[in-house]
């Protein structure tokens, strides 16, 4: 079982990230919670954003409730606990405020349902994760908001499950292609070289571009690539850079502008959630001789597939799982609705 495996690997926090709206993220979350019951691992639950509402904030469609067994820890608003007051033990208050009210830590006294109020900021998510750990919660599942890959950041959670759903495209080929793009971007290599790691750390700390040239670090007098591109392009062409660390995110537009300089090098980013460039553009950068590396890797614990779209169409589940498995080689693929519980171990 996935949770048993994660426990063995010492992972204490796992983000559930949907790659589009209505992909079935809550269904995956519920499946993992159900798994926690059967393998006897009490989990903690928290949500980033506005998840936990009865309707999806984007599409307005009814969302499945989050079902929890007794002994589950949650971080949510008092109003969400009051709905089934007899089912909860309130353990502690927190200084965190959500749209639905102040956030409390509570433990379910029996099997029940819950709404998770969104925790507004990454720092506050970290606070909750620390509090759960302090209370001895072995694993916390972080329900990421729609298309917020940031919840998978290795600076926030130790692992992530990507949810790939039929609603990501009209054809299976589209969906598989999008899944492949995300996984390939997520699994680009980590910078091993000490100098390169130092460059990213410096860039993140000082919020400036930091280049590696002639075996030395050089700070560029540019804090962001959003400024006049001629300025930073001039800096890039002035020297033979072997690597360049960005303090922020990488987009397709920026990558194209870098390609305009005709000087390929290794681009260094904090982690995969900071790479918003698409696979074709990244591929072109590699063909030019460039590379992309991360300071921190995202541990992709699994890819979950959902062949049914709420729009009313669906793909062949066997084919979808198989094709996704082919493109995400090495990462376990699961279909939480179709996978029989007896064959999962």
């Amino acid at each position: 079982m996935l949770l048993n495996r994660l426990q063995r690997e010492g992972i204490t926090s796992l983000a559930i990230v949907g790659l589009a709206k209505n992909v079935g993220k809550t269904t995956v979350l519920n499946a993992l919670i159900a798994e926690s019951r059967s393998c006897g691992v009490p989990v903690g639950l928290l949500s980033i954003g506005v998840d936990g509402e009865e309707r999806d904030a984007w599409s307005g469609r009814p969302k499945p409730p989050i079902r929890v067994p007794g002994g589950t820890w949650v971080a949510t608003a008092g109003a969400c606990l009051d709905l089934r007051g007899g089912d909860w033990e309130v353990i502690a208050s927190t200084p965190i405020h959500s749209l639905l009210g102040d956030i409390y830590l509570a433990r379910s006294t029996r099997s029940t349902h819950v709404k998770l109020a969104g925790i507004p900021s990454a720092e506050e998510v970290r606070t909750i994760l620390r509090r759960f750990q302090h209370h001895g919660v072995p694993l916390t599942l972080v329900d990421g908001a729609y298309d917020r890959k940031a919840s998978a950041s290795p600076l926030l959670t130790q692992g992530a499950v990507l949810v790939v759903g039929a609603s990501m495209g009209r054809t299976l080929q589209d969906v598989v292609k999008k899944a492949e793009e995300t996984v390939r971007i997520f699994t680009l290599p980590v910078a091993e070289n000490g100098l390169e790691r130092n460059a990213v750390e410096t860039a993140l700390r000082e919020r400036f571009l930091v280049g590696v040239s002639g075996g030395e670090l050089r700070s560029l007098p540019v804090s962001s690539l959003l400024v006049d591109r001629r300025v930073w392009q001039a800096h890039l062409t002035r020297e033979e850079w072997t690597a360049l660390a960005l303090p922020g995110a990488l987009t397709d537009r920026l990558l194209w502008q870098m390609m305009e300089t005709g000087r390929p090098f290794t681009l260094l980013l904090s982690d995969p959630t900071r790479c918003f460039a698409t696979l074709p553009t990244v591929r072109r950068w590699y063909r030019m001789g460039g590379e992309i590396r991360y300071l921190h890797a995202v541990r992709l614990a699994a890819v979950a597939v959902n062949p049914v779209s709420p729009e009313g169409f669906s793909f062949d589940p066997v084919e979808m799982k198989q094709r996704v498995q082919e493109v995400v080689r090495g990462i376990p693929v699961m279909d939480v609705v179709r996978d029989a519980i007896s064959t999962e171990a």
Binding site: N30, A31, A34, E35, G78, A79, L81, D82, G85, G86, W88, E89, V90, I91, A92, S93, D102, Y104, T109, R110, S111, P307, V308, S314, F315, D316, P317, V318, V336, V337, R338, D339, A340, I341, S342, T343
Partner: protein
């Protein structure tokens, strides 16, 4: 108003007030409406200061201090909950949790205080009553800081929950048995939801379809999803579970309503405890500031305001940041007027502001940053310090100053008036006349007035008392200034009582030279001064 905003700004009161930090949310709220002690409240004032002194003595024990502070840090704001209870409302789960947390930490806090015999805050009886209230929210003998609707709140609740659990167990066992039977007959296994998902083309699909025990719940062009139909027995258990669940909700509501009713008589005493801990929190925050300033307890005087070794905490901190020290102020101010003279930059205004801050802190129940402090409670504190230009009223600096002074001189009974160079905003002869006239008026009045001035005419007013700042330690000489910021080292800021025959110091040109005015200009000024003197004498 005891001290207006203009005066407060001039004394750097907002910076001082920011340093005053109660810990609890209700302490912070109380700070916003904290009133000073005023004449007529002398006994209460001294009592409050005595209480603070006792607290400071007890808080010298680090362990005790840490325990008390931890309690204050964890106390939630329960005032709105107490008011809801008072109005007959029933709080929700998170509000009961807050109330329990508050009682939990109140109990610990009260125990800390009674152990040190600080009974003025909370009595031993109250400690017992807090514990009783805590037990109302914690029906089991062992007290816990968390809150849940424990079975022990109601025997029926415990019984209902047991019955619901039994129903659920029966349903689960029945389902499991049925599922095993279905899986024995087919090769399809359940998913995590307890459903059988089968490829509609597979031979197993027909088998599942034919099973009476199953019902088709949804399908896609590829799959059909089946779930076990509840058996008759299971339907009965489910209906029973529903009935029990409904009753549980009723009993839980009744438990909360009973809790609210049982707490309602306690609300007045809980509000008293809240008031007590709020007052304690304010004193605790005062204690921190007193310690930071090494403050002294102000004593009630029979008339004069006497300060020895007083320090303006904000100015002192700014000076310390620059590597300088604040020269403590010794000052005695009686009813009437006290004049302070001295050279420019000699510290006259800072001495006056130090007096103002000490008096204000004392009135708000603080220990004063001084070695010694005696004062009567005064009805108000007001100052004309710095630019009083009334922009809205369209008045000039001088006009604004006169308008404000006019109002202050009429205030009755007299308070502490701090006047910084009255008349400086107009031509020197008229300014000097006004300055002397105001001083003469104040010398006969009820105020404790302090007037900082450069006008020698003021010294001619009969019946004034006063001080001069000691001034330059030696004849100022630009060559002595190795660095521009060193000028402070050459000034003696001490206040020295005025003696008959003391003159207003004439050092403006020297100061101008030291501060970098071009030498040609300064010499020209000195020539003009010499000519004036010659004209007067010749």
């Amino acid at each position: 108003m005891w001290m207006d905003e203009t005066t407060g700004q001039a004394l750097s009161w907002p910076e001082i007030w920011t340093r005053f930090q109660p810990i609890t949310p209700f302490g912070q709220r109380a700070k916003r409406s904290l009133a000073p002690f005023v004449p007529g409240q002398e006994a209460a004032w001294q009592e409050s200061l005595e209480e603070l002194e006792r607290l400071m003595n007890t808080a010298r024990q680090p362990d005790w201090r840490e325990s008390v502070e931890a309690c204050l840090r964890h106390m939630p704001d329960v005032e709105p909950i107490l008011h809801r209870l008072e109005c007959g409302e029933v709080p929700g789960l998170s509000e009961w949790f807050h109330l329990k947390q508050w009682l939990w930490y109140m109990h610990r806090w009260a125990q800390c205080l009674t152990r040190q015999a600080l009974h003025e805050w909370i009595s031993s009886d109250a400690v017992c009553r807090i514990e009783t209230c805590l037990h109302k929210l914690n029906p089991r003998p062992k007290l816990e800081p968390t809150f849940w609707l424990d079975d022990a709140f109601d025997p029926e609740l415990a019984d209902l929950r047991r019955r619901r659990e039994a129903c659920e167990r029966n349903i689960r066992d029945n389902r499991e048995a049925l599922a095993r039977e279905i899986e024995r007959l087919t090769s399809v296994r359940r998913n995590r939801e307890g459903e059988w998902v089968v490829d509609r083309r597979s031979p197993e699909a027909a088998k599942l379809e034919a099973m009476d025990a199953l019902t088709r719940v949804r399908e896609t062009p590829f799959d059909v999803v089946y779930r076990a139909k509840p058996t008759l027995q299971e339907q009965e258990w489910m209906a029973e579970r529903e009935r029990i669940g409904e009753r549980i909700r009723e009993v839980e509501s009744a438990v909360l309503a009973r809790l609210a009713a049982s707490f309602r008589p306690d609300v007045p005493v809980m509000l008293e405890w809240l008031a007590s801990v709020t007052r304690f929190d304010l004193q605790w925050a005062r204690m921190w500031l007193s310690e930071r300033w090494n403050g002294c307890r102000p004593r009630l005087s029979d008339g004069p305001i006497r300060l020895k070794g007083a320090v303006h905490p904000v100015v002192a901190e700014r000076l310390a940041e620059q590597g300088h020290t604040f020269t403590p102020v010794d000052l005695e101010v009686e009813r009437g007027v006290t004049v302070i003279i001295g050279p420019n930059m000699g510290g006259k205004t800072v001495a006056m502001k130090t007096l103002g801050v000490a008096v204000a802190l004392a009135h708000y129940g603080f220990f004063v940053p001084a070695q010694n402090c005696e004062l009567p409670l005064v009805p108000f504190l007001a100052g004309i310090i710095g630019d009083t230009q009334d922009a809205e009223g369209g008045l000039s600096t001088f006009g604004g100053e006169m308008a404000r002074l006019g109002k202050l001189l009429q205030r009755c009974p007299g308070g502490l008036l701090l006047l910084d160079e009255v008349g400086r905003g107009t031509n020197p002869p008229e300014g000097a006349a006004l300055s002397a006239a105001v001083t003469a008026h104040l010398s006969r009045g009820e105020h404790w007035a302090v007037h900082v001035t450069h006008h020698h005419e003021v010294l001619e007013v009969a019946g004034i008392r006063g001080y001069r700042t000691a001034g330059w330690k030696r004849p100022p000489d630009a060559s002595a200034f190795h660095r521009p910021e060193n000028w402070r080292d050459w000034i003696d800021y001490r206040l020295i009582p005025l003696k008959p025959g003391d003159e207003i110091p004439r050092q403006a040109t020297s100061v101008a030279r030291l501060m970098g005015l071009p030498e040609l200009v300064v010499r020209d000024a000195e020539r003009r001064l010499a000519a004036q003197r010659n004209n007067r004498h010749g």
